[in-house]
């Protein structure tokens, strides 16, 4: 290769490579390394081996906080899969029949996806206010006043409320991904099945669902990563401590509190914070890799 060609290649590739190395690769490798050191404030001290992980799993209050937050991330994932993505499959099947106005529905359904979670969170926090919010007022108007409650203040409903707020914001995304998946299925398959006398439900179950597997794989992985990345919504609606009484605490909040300190306890511990980050990192990367391989194997070729 001539020298000038090589110089051009370097000029084209260098900016991205340098930016990516300094602000992505280096911090990620450092994050892994930080978990193996002892810390005082934000000053790094001696190499500590796995001591931070040992403390995280054995010294009060960390094991309990970790288990509590982890369980909430898992609940977020499971309920989001069931409620949000279940609804999304249904809506996509309806939209795929090409009803009148399907284009407009698509645009409306996707609208909240573009809004900041901060706006969405605050908006629903106002709506869910036990005294002044429209949700309880609406329930009262509908004669269901008995259901009215402090949705975000009651530990029994706080996390579920956040999951529903999050689903309100995201629903359009899986809906349109599933819709694209259904639309990509060749009309011949559907016609052939119908000619063979398959009912609507049979067409859905035997033709559409198996061929929708690639879209399902992507949505499962994205939902998993999204659920374990939860931060903005609980931070904005419930505060950095996961109120009430840590009912909405998730790993993202716990990580942020241990890394940067908590207002009410002043607890800051970068060693522990880094250990939490490494655990989250391992969970996310391994599950999404496993998911991609395992779920992909079940996909039907056509």
């Amino acid at each position: 290769m001539q020298t000038s060609r090589r110089l051009w290649l370097i000029a084209f590739l260098a900016p991205s490579t340098i930016l990516f190395a300094i602000f992505i690769t280096y911090p990620i490798l450092s994050a892994l390394a930080y978990s193996l050191f002892a810390w005082e404030g934000i000053g790094r001290r001696e190499f500590a081996g796995l001591a931070n992980f040992v403390r995280l799993f054995s010294i009060f209050p960390y094991p309990r906080l970790l288990a509590n937050a982890f369980a909430h991330n898992v609940i977020v994932f499971v309920l989001t899969m069931l409620i949000q993505n279940g609804l999304a499959v249904g809506l996509a099947l309806l939209l795929a029949r090409g009803p009148w106005g399907a284009k407009v529905y698509r645009v409306i359904f996707f609208l909240p996806v573009t809004l900041s979670l901060v706006i969405v969170g605050f908006l629903w926090a106002l709506f869910l206010n036990p005294v002044f919010g429209v949700v309880n007022k609406g329930l009262a108007l509908a004669g269901l006043g008995a259901l009215a409650r402090a949705w975000l203040g009651d530990p029994a409903t706080a996390l579920l409320s956040l999951i529903l707020i999050n689903a309100w914001r995201w629903l359009g995304f899986p809906t349109l991904v599933f819709l694209a998946g259904i639309n990509a299925i060749s009309e011949e398959y559907l016609e052939a099945a119908r000619i063979d006398g398959a009912g609507e439900w049979e067409v859905i179950r035997r033709i559409i669902f198996p061929l929708l597997a690639p879209a399902v794989t992507i949505i499962v992985i994205l939902t998993f990563i999204g659920s374990f990345n939860w931060f903005e919504l609980p931070y904005v609606v419930s505060g950095v401590s996961g109120a009430p009484n840590r009912a909405t605490d998730v790993l993202g909040l716990l990580f942020y509190r241990t890394a940067f300190g908590e207002v009410d306890t002043g607890l800051q511990d970068i060693g522990i914070g880094s250990a939490i980050a490494v655990l989250m990192f391992l969970v996310m990367v391994s599950v999404s890799t496993f998911g991609a391989v395992f779920l992909r194997r079940r996909e039907v070729e056509y």
Partner: protein
């Protein structure tokens, strides 16, 4: 079973979901024009008087003008850097055979898997050492860097699909590498540039996490971050809060109404093939 009996039921479900999306937004918009007392007494109706002054209060007193300006600046700069760098790298990776090409491509793609927020502690220390804490540049650099994997992934793919004789013909005519890139190649991948822009600009505009950690000075805060300040200050003043929410939502909603197809295609890129 197609059409006929099921059609009304299908529309009922679709309309119900459309209302679920739109009613909260309409209540927000209407409440923005009411007094707080009116919001409590008549939450669902039209405002008795349309109070536009609610918005001017938010714009000036609550510094929304400043927040929006900061958000625009950070978003435009970040996207400009990442699209420019990403296009250059995508061009080199997509159209030149050289040693290490595949390896470098995979190196960038690894960024798609890595949740960069988990590296916030080293990033914080890095920004402090670079003297960039509390500067919009800290945001621009991290947004541009974390947008590169998707940009390079999308653009390399596009550059690869362009016919091979395009650049060789220009090269024989004596065109320089830079002018081949800017005059011939870039215009041809414009659809991909739009996708990359939307895919990155919306999450950057909406991001709250990095400003929360990097920016302290009031006058440098971005819109989502400023919202949390604002909610802390006005937490019982519902009229002002709803005006603020409406004002914060307007830029993106207006853009979305005009460019909805680009938004949908851009934001689902990566999850939807082709």
């Amino acid at each position: 079973m197609r059409g006929s009996a099921w059609t009304p039921l299908i529309h009922a479900v679709l309309i119900a979901n459309a209302l679920l999306v739109l009613v909260p937004m309409v209540i927000m918009g209407l409440s923005a024009f009411k007094t707080t007392r009116e919001i409590f007494q008549n939450p669902f109706g039209l405002p008795a008087v349309w109070r536009i002054e609610n918005f001017s209060r938010v714009w000036v007193e609550a510094r929304f003008g400043t927040y929006i300006q900061n958000s625009v600046l950070v978003t435009v700069l970040s996207v400009a850097v990442l699209v420019a760098f990403g296009a250059m790298a995508g061009y080199a990776l997509g159209r030149f055979r050289f040693k290490g090409n595949d390896l470098l491509y995979l190196y960038f793609l690894s960024g798609l898997m890595l949740p960069i927020r988990l590296a916030i502690i080293p990033l914080f220390i890095l920004m402090r050492n670079l003297n960039l804490l509390d500067s919009p540049w800290s945001l621009v650099l991290i947004y541009a860097a974390s947008g590169l994997p998707s940009a390079i992934f999308i653009l390399t793919g596009f550059f690869k699909t362009l016919p091979a004789d395009l650049d060789s013909a220009a090269r024989i005519d004596g065109a320089s590498e830079w002018s081949i890139f800017t005059q011939i190649m870039l215009p041809l991948v414009r659809p991909a540039l739009v996708i990359v822009t939307v895919y990155n600009a919306i999450p950057i505009w909406n991001d709250f996490f990095f400003p929360l950690v990097f920016i302290q000075t009031e006058a440098r805060k971005t819109l989502p971050q400023g919202m949390t300040v604002f909610f802390g200050q006005y937490f019982t003043d519902y009229a002002t809060l709803f005006s603020g929410l409406t004002l914060a939502a307007i830029p993106i909603v207006v853009l979305y109404v005009i460019l909805s197809q680009h938004f949908i295609r851009g934001l689902t890129a990566g999850a939807v093939k082709g």
